[in-house]
Structures are given as C-alpha cells and as structure tokens.
C-alpha cells in the first residue's frame, strides 16, 4: 500500500511508530519496576546492553539477539548472586552495572574496523530506526503483551505478597524469570529510541506519574502507557524541530508530564 510505504519511508514516522510500540510495553513493565522496587535492577540490565552489542559484533549475531541474551544471562546471574547475600543487592547491582558498561566500551574500542555510533547507542537516535527494527519492536511487544495477559494474576499476586502467592500455588520463581526475559526484550528494542542510559527512565517515569491518578493496578498500567505515548511523541517532535538527541528529549517530556500531574492532580486514595 502506497500510504503505508510513504509513512514507513519517512524516518520520523518510523521513529514515532517504533517509539509508540516501545511505550506500549514500557507501561506495564515500568509498573512492575516501580511495584517491585527494581529501578536499579533495570538500570543494570540496560547498562549490560552495551556489552551485548560488543559481543554481537565479536561473534557476528544480530544486535537484538546479542542484547537479549546478554541481559537474560546477567539477570539470572544477579538472581543467583543476590541469593548468596554476601553483598547487599544495591552494591552488587552497582558493581555489575558499571562493569558491564565498561567492559562493553573497552571491547568496542578493540574493534576499530566497526563503526559504532556510541552517542546513538547511549542516548538514542531518531535517525536510526529501520523497518527491520520496527518488526523487532512490534514482534517483541506482541510477545510481551501476550505473556502479560496470560500470566497477569500470578505476576500481580507474586508482586503483592510473594509467600502468599507461593502457598496459593503461584510459580513465583518461574514468573520472575519470565519477567526478566520481558525486561531484556524491552531493553533490546527500546535501545534504539532512548538509548541504553535512559531506558529505565522510560520505564519508571510514566509509571510513577500514573500512580498519582490510578485506583487499581490495571488502571495504573493503562495510564502508564498513555503517559509513555505522550513522552515519546512529544519527545520525538522536540528532537525533530530542535535537533536535540532523541532519548533525552523523550525523558524531558516524560518528566514534564510527571511534574504537571504531581503539581496539579490530587492523589487518588488507593
């Protein structure tokens, strides 16, 4: 169809459509990040995405695959390490986040033949969204939404009270792994739009904004998606007109909405 072709032929529209796809899954997952206090954890996974990119170049696999696999491996390592309780979780996360980022950067510097737009990877790039990326984003989004819909009650219950959920037969550990897998996918697909360093912001800020107005968990998820849409479309428009970097523009828009909502709306008592 010529209309669709014309839209997808324009890099701005590609970026916008991709960004909205990312916001669609960043909403619900961002709520879980906020509910389960996983902000720092998300940051660590996002930082490890750069290591994933470096490794993908080393062994020549698609970037998205490399990032997802690296994030999943790191997530499982984190869960196992944090069980041993020799180091506090935040210390452990701090070590792994920055080490993964640093190892990624060092590895990339060893490959001078490969041209990598580092600023684009770290802060997002409006121009970088390809049709192939759109397929990844919407494929990933579809998978995540399907998983969320199927596992919703168990995920919510194990977030509210883990032991109670266990006694009621919820497979808490398996759900935790599924959640990690979903985070890894989101990080891999969101990287292009907002960049490795700002992915957590796209997860947390819309969800935190939604909390102010939400009366139940699903309501909060819906609002988080809406605020994510506003952040992405506002941010990319800003980036387009003022030639600002895409990721920071999206985050600045999300933050403005956050300030607006917290400044004007009364807290919903729920």
């Amino acid at each position: 169809m010529p209309i669709i072709d014309a839209v997808l032929g324009d890099f701005f529209w590609r970026a916008l459509i991709g960004g909205l796809g990312v916001a669609l899954v960043a909403g619900p997952l961002g709520c879980f990040v906020v509910w389960r206090r996983m902000a720092y954890f998300g940051d660590t996974l996002a930082h490890s995405a750069l290591l994933g990119i470096a490794l993908s170049f080393l062994i020549s696999v698609p970037l998205n695959v490399g990032v997802i696999v690296t994030c999943v491996v790191l997530a499982i390592a984190l869960v196992l390490f944090s069980r041993s309780k020799t180091l506090a979780t935040d210390t452990l996360l701090g070590i792994l986040a920055h080490s993964a980022l640093a190892i990624g950067l060092v590895t990339l510097s060893f490959m001078p033949d490969i041209r990598v737009d580092l600023t684009g990877l770290l802060f997002g790039d409006l121009l970088a969204m390809s049709r192939n990326d759109l397929l990844w984003i919407y494929g990933g989004a579809l998978l995540i939404l399907a998983l969320l819909a199927t596992l919703w009650r168990g995920l919510l219950m194990s977030t509210i009270h883990e032991e109670l959920a266990r006694v009621e037969g919820v497979p808490v550990e398996r759900l935790r792994l599924v959640l990690m897998l979903m985070f890894s996918i989101v990080i891999a697909v969101a990287m292009k739009i907002v960049g490795v360093l700002l992915i957590t912001a796209l997860l947390i800020i819309p969800a935190a904004t939604a909390r102010r107005l939400a009366g139940n968990p699903e309501h909060m998820v819906g609002l988080a998606i809406l605020f994510g849409f506003i952040a992405v479309s506002g941010g990319l428009t800003l980036s387009w007109h003022l030639d600002t970097p895409a990721g920071p523009s999206v985050v600045v828009t999300a933050f403005s909405v956050f300030l607006l909502v917290y400044g004007s709306a009364r807290q919903v008592q729920a």
């Binding site: 009650r153 509210i160 032991e163 009366g215």
Partner: protein, 259 residues
C-alpha cells in the same frame, strides 16, 4: 475424622548444617488448634514454612492429606504503597468468586471495608483481611504466623476468639505461632513449645508445669501462666468493649475468673 491433615515425622530443616528445626513430630487433625510457642530464633516460622511447602526440608518426612487446601495468614501484610490496591481486588486475586470473597470478609467482620484501599487499614483490620483471604479459599488447614501482631490487647482476644469460632464453623485444623503466652494459654487446645526441637507439648494447663517449659521461659513466666490459665465467658470487640458472648455455648462450662 481422625485422619491427619498434616503429619510431620522427625522433620528437620538445617541452614548451613545447623539444624533450625530438629526432629519435630507433629500431627494435625480437623478441629485441632495447635499453637507453637518458643523463644526468638526457635525455628517457629521455619517450621510452619516447611508445612506450607515454601521451605525445603533437610530430613524426616512431611505427609499431607491428598487435596489439602491451606489458608495462610502471614506475619505482616507489608504492601508497596506504589501499587494501588483495594480490599476487594486483593480478595478477588485469590481466584474466588465475588460472593465467596464477600462472605469471607463478613465472617472476619471487615465487610464494610470492601472498597477501601489496603494501604489505609489499621493493623487489626489488615490481620482480619488476611484471615478473610485465607478463608475465601475454604481451607482444610489454617496456618497463622503471629496473627495478633500489631493488634492491641483487646483486639488480640477478639482475634483469637474469631479463630476458634472459624475452626468450629469450617471444621478445619489450625496451626498458629504466637508470642502472647497469656492469651495462648487461655485460648488454645494444644501447645507446642519449640526450641529447635519440641521441648514440650500438651494442654495449656499441663505445659506450664513442665520442667522443660519452665527451663525455656523461666520460672516467673511459668508461674504467672499457671495463675492466668482460665477460659473467658465473654469476649471483647476491636474497641475493647465486652461483647455478650456469642461463643458462650462452646465454653459454657467455663466461668470468668478475675485477673
């Protein structure tokens, strides 16, 4: 029904080769109320977590009646305030029908809070909500970890009365942990005093004279309990007012002794 709901035989749970629960035998039948008491670190919570199936067992055996439904009332309901949640939604997440949830809330006396946020409940209301959630599952076995924590003294008595009447109504078995020795002695059927191993067990009247009990809790405590041992013929509501006993029938032979 003399068939055991749960039977533990020489059950042992060890952390780093140090036994926290050591060779515990325990048998719970329908209608039993068994209270586990013991000093801090005695392994009380570990023991009930093993019964609940959320703590792996290092030795001995744990046999459950087939198809057993367990209702669990955890020690605290610490909820993340970032998660908006109403009492109704929390109940419905048990997977039971709205009618069953409402009935369970009515049984524990918090039906009026159905539309309230769980974040705005008092300690006593939270415990009653947790109890209602356990009841909605129509449990064969009710497991409570310090149900009266964060509840004032009169509310505690009311809560224990409620647990007893629920036991009568559901004909379920009850295992609970308690710190309130005085209430336990007055309210329970059988007491197990745990200090890694079962140091003594039996009826409240007997146990306070048991040398092992006296050794664990000290003579002053044991003696005060022997004095305090009595049944109430009235109960208190959450505000501490005397409620003319709706449980009088069950305890008709008991008379009120003065404190």
């Amino acid at each position: 029904m003399t068939e055991a709901l749960v039977e533990l035989h020489r059950l042992t749970v060890s952390f780093d080769n140090r036994p926290v629960v050591d060779h515990v035998d325990l048998r719970v039948q329908r209608g039993d109320i068994i209270t586990i008491i013991g000093p801090n670190g005695a392994g009380k919570t570990t023991l009930i977590k093993a019964v609940l199936g959320i703590q792996s067992v290092s030795g001995g055996s744990l046999t459950m009646a087939p198809g057993l439904t367990i209702g669990y009332v955890p020690q605290h309901l610490t909820l993340e305030t970032t998660l908006p949640l109403s009492v109704k939604r929390f109940m419905l997440l048990s997977g039971r029908s709205p009618r069953e949830c409402q009935e369970a809330l009515a049984k524990t006396g918090v039906e009026h809070l159905i539309n309230a946020s769980v974040h705005r409940l008092s300690g006593g209301e939270k415990q009653r909500l947790l109890l209602a959630r356990a009841l909605a599952r129509k449990p064969d076995l009710l497991v409570l970890d310090e149900p009266a924590q964060g509840v004032d003294i009169n509310g505690q008595a009311a809560l224990y009365d409620l647990i007893r009447s629920l036991r009568d109504e559901l004909n379920c078995g009850v295992i609970m942990i308690s710190h309130d020795l005085h209430l336990v002695m007055a309210a329970t059927d059988k007491v197990i005093c745990l200090n890694q191993h079962v140091c003594c067990s039996g009826y409240p009247a007997d146990i306070s004279h048991d040398p092992a009990f006296i050794e664990t809790f000290g003579r002053p405590v044991a003696e005060s309990l022997a004095v305090y041992h009595h049944h109430h013929n009235h109960s208190h509501d959450l505000h501490g007012d005397v409620v003319s006993g709706e449980h009088d029938d069950a305890h008709g032979e008991c008379t009120h002794a003065h404190h």
